[in-house]
Structure formats: C-alpha cells, structure tokens
Amino acid sequence: MPAIWVNGPVMPDSRRPIRLEPRPAARAAANGREAGRRRGWLRMRKYWQVIGIGVQNHLTYRFNFLARTLFDFIPLTALLLLWRTIYAGKGADATVATFTLAQMTTYYLVVAVVDVLTAVNDDDWQIAADIKDGNISQFLLKPIDYLWFRLCLFLAGRAVYLTVAALPIAAVILLLHQYFILPASFGGFLLFLLSVALTALLQFFLSYTMAMLAFWLMEISTFVFILYALEYIASGHMFPLDILPDPVRFGLMNLTPFPYQLYLPVAIYLEKISGRELVTGLLMQAAWVLVSYLLARLAWRRGIKKYAAAGG
C-alpha cells in the first residue's frame, strides 16, 4: 500500500483565505478578477501537488517498472521474429495487408511506446482497493475530486514509467533502426501525439469505470482480466487491425472503444489512416473519451449511494 494512503495525502487547503497585498480601491474590480484567477490557479495547484506525490510514490517502484519493461521485450522480440519468418516465407518485398516488414516492425515498436505512455498499470487495482478498504471516505470530506486525484496519480505514474522505459526502448529502436520508420510529416506526428493523449484519457476513464465495480462486487479481478483479454486482441496489441477481415475491422472501429485505446494513434503514425478517415477517427476517439468520462462519473455517483465506508 503506498504510503500516502496511510496518512492521507498532504493537500494545500484551497478554502484558506488568500492574503492579498493592500491595493487602491480603484483597481478593486480588476483585482477581483485577478483573485478569481488566483483561486483557480490554487485549485489547480493542489492537483500539481498530487502529481508530485504520485511521482515520488512511483519512483519507489522504479525497479519493478524496469523489470516489467525488460520482461515485456521477450514477447515483443518473439512477435517481431515471428513476423520476420512469415515475411521471409513470402519472398522479398512482400506485404501483409499493405504492411511491409519495416512497417510491421515499426507498428509493434510504436505500440510499445504508446503502451508506456498510456497503459493503466496498477491504477484500477488501487482504486478498487480504496473502495473496498474505505479509503475513499476522506475524499468525500476533502475539497478534492477523487477522479481528478486518480488521474493525476495515473499521469505521474506514466511520467515515471516513461523515464524508466525510455532508455531500453530507445536502445531497441536504435538496434532495429533499419526497420524503423520515422514519422512522415511533422503535422502527422502532432496528430499522433494528440491521439496518444486521447488514448491515455480513454484508457484511464475506462479502467476507472471498471474499478467502480468494486462498490458492488467483492472481487473485480476476473472482470478486469476478461476485459484485458478483449482489449489485448481488439485494440491492436497483438497485430495491426488492418490484417483482420474487413467486416470485423469495420465493426470494431465503429461499435467498440477498443481500437481507440491503442490502434488509432499507431495507425496515424504509420499513415495507414489519413484524410477523412483520420478526422472521423479522432472525432470518434474524442467521443469515446467523453462517453467513458460520463460513465465514470455516473458509476461513481451510483456507487457512492451504495457505499458503506467499511473500516473507514
């Protein structure tokens, strides 16, 4: 259990009156606006504090992160070698569903990068544990929103994970540089980054919503693992969705959030999606972010009504 749960996170109290310098009456109105901005800034500041705490907390686990990153290279290498064998069997400059060997290799490497930036690590388990152990009671009293609080911790975790994983991943990319395709245009790369940001939010909100099941169930891990299995294949983790039969791909893209949890940014990076398809893709992704956010809020509100604060 992270230490912050034991003592409760240290937060600046935003309700504390702000001491402002004495000022001429004539400028009061302008200063009122200024004070409003200051208050808004203070409200933000407590979340900055959370991020700081989150970074410190996650740093204790840096060796776990490193171990996980290194272990994850084993199946990644296996998949890359498997594809290489398949391409070798098809003859030189063969393509699989428009993917050349270099594109296929790049696909998996970019997946690894996006994964580092956006994957939910322990957050869902921690949220579920908070609910079960009654730790969320303190958030019902404090002027801090649990969802934003968890989002800050999630982002902090990603930042730490990135610093730990950056070196090994960069090494692998350098090692495979002749198979690694750089982004074709700067604009495309910016769109990729935008999509990655949306992916992170979507990942987080969906996991948060799943974790809300802990209000109703003793054990949520089975449900989480079943969802993981679905995500693993339908989000493009195992293979680019382009190699699926068209109706299946079409159904996934239009009816489920899974492709927007990983596939979309990588496809944008490789320019497998462009023009109108790209715009609709990003809009769909944004829509799923919104839907998952609303679901998360709704589940929390329902859950709180049921909440019995066991041990809290």
Binding site: F63, T222, F225
Partner: protein
C-alpha cells in the same frame, strides 16, 4: 534392505495421505467461492480463445510459419495451454505464494512441520479450475488432430503425455527458482509476473525463430520453454528427431537439479520476519 524398502514405501504412503488431505482442503476452499471459481475459468477461456484468434488471423495471410501449418500450430497452442493449465493446477498458486510467506514470516510454520518443506510449499494448494481448462485444451487438440488426420496410437499418446509431464516439470522448476528470489528481495512480484512472458514463448512454433539465433538458443538451452510444447507436438505430427526428446529430458533434469540447488541455497538465507 527389507527394512529400508519398507520405510521408503511407508514414506511414500505417508506423503500420499498428506497430499490427499491437501487436495480435500483445496476442494473445500474452491467450493466456498463457486461464482469466483467459474469466473476464473471464463478468464482463462477468454485468453485461450484470444490466442487461437490470433493464429487464425495470422493464417489468413500466410500458408505456413517455417514448416508449421495452421492446424499444427493450433495443436501446438492446445498442447501448450494443456501443459500450462496442468502446471497451474498443481504449482502456480504455490509458487506465487512463496514470496508472501517469506515476507510475512509464515514460512516458520511450514519449516517446523515434519514433512519435506519443498514438497509442502510446492503442492499445498490445488487450483482445480486448471483441470477444467486443461479439458478445454484437450478438446481443441482433439479437433486439430482430426483436421490433421493424425495417425495416433496408444503408445504414442502415452509418450506424448510423458513429454507433457516433463514440460510441466520445466515450468515448475523455472518458476520455483524465480520465486526463491524472494528470499533475497521482498519485491519478487515483478519477477513472478515476468514468468507469464515465458508462457507466451512456449506457445510459439520453434521455427518462427532461426536455428542458431540468440533468441532460439536462449529459450532452448538456458530457459528451455521452446522445448516444452514443441517437442510433444512434433511427436504427434511425426516430425520429431530423437535428439530433441533427449534434449527435453536432459533440460528437465538440469532444471530440477538447478532449482533444488538454488532452493537449498536460498532457504539458508531465511531469517524469519517479525518473530
């Protein structure tokens, strides 16, 4: 000599009685949470289905991986799932629990009991869901065998089962060795998590990796997971070289001896916690 044989027989019988008691406890424990028991089976089925889905999508775009055809790979995935589930039934939970026992100092109680500690540690708890999932794996294997029109004989099936048994042994020895790392550091969970990646390798057809490449050599001669399901499936599909059977058996023996050595080394380091 008579007396010694007698004592070996007695000891064997005593361990069987102990195992029966452990088995009974496990059944009772599982039946306390029936819903959960069933849901964990669904989880495993979902992951198994995902693996099969991956292969069927892959074979939409290729005829073969090396010389492995689609149904041969399905058979391979079935066999690897079977071996993994058998391993899971008997050993996995116990390997996962080891670090917690060390951390909390509860290992004291097990060390004091007049039974071989490693026996108790390794077999204390059975995961009966694994048997159900192993049955699913068998169903997939039977289907794939039908598609491949394999010529099966009882003796071949028996040898196949024996080879699978060796595979279970390798999984157990490797993971038990990894779990004993918890005697050195309390943060062993990450390492145990890492073992799941080795299950992934065990599912791969060996020819996906070039012969003599670093990857293939490491996972054949150092962490021999590539042998675990490839050798038994090669037996069924009649593409087996006798050398690889010896290799599998030899590697199992090395893993067993290695893990026993590490275990003895580790348990010497055990300083009980909080007592």
């Amino acid at each position: 000599m008579d007396a010694r044989q007698c004592s070996v027989g007695n000891r064997g019988r005593r361990y069987l009685v102990i195992y029966a008691a452990l088995l009974k406890n496990s059944v009772i424990r599982e039946m306390m949470f029936k819903g959960n028991f069933l849901l964990w089976i669904v989880v495993e089925v979902a992951w198994f289905a995902m693996q099969l889905g991956f292969i069927s999508v892959l074979y939409l775009h290729t005829e073969a991986i090396g010389t492995w055809t689609k149904w041969q790979v399905v058979l391979l995935i079935g066999a690897s799932h079977f071996i993994q589930q058998m391993y899971q039934t008997f050993f996995l939970v116990n390997c996962l629990n080891l670090s917690e026992l060390v951390r909390s100092g509860k290992l004291d109680f097990l060390l004091m009991l007049p039974v071989n500690t490693r026996f108790l540690l390794s077999l204390r708890q059975l995961d009966l869901g694994g048997l159900v999932n192993a049955a699913f794996a068998v169903a997939v294997m039977v289907y794939a065998a039908g598609k491949l029109e394999l010529a099966l004989t009882w003796s071949r099936l028996l040898v196949f089962l024996g080879l699978c048994g060796l595979g279970v042994g390798i999984h157990y020895c490797l993971m038990f060795t990894l779990a004993t790392v918890s005697f050195w550091t309390v943060r062993a969970q990450g390492i145990v998590h890492g073992y799941y990646n080795l299950f992934n390798i065990a599912r791969m057809p060996d020819e996906a990796f070039a012969r003599g490449s670093v990857f293939r050599s490491v996972f054949t001669f150092v962490l021999p997971v590539l042998l675990i399901s490839n050798v038994p499936v090669r037996l069924l599909t009649e593409r087996l070289t006798p050398a690889s059977v010896w290799l599998l058996a030899g590697m199992t023996l090395i893993c067993a001896l290695g893990s026993e050595w590490v275990w003895r080394l580790s348990v010497r380091r055990y300083t009980s916690a909080s007592s």
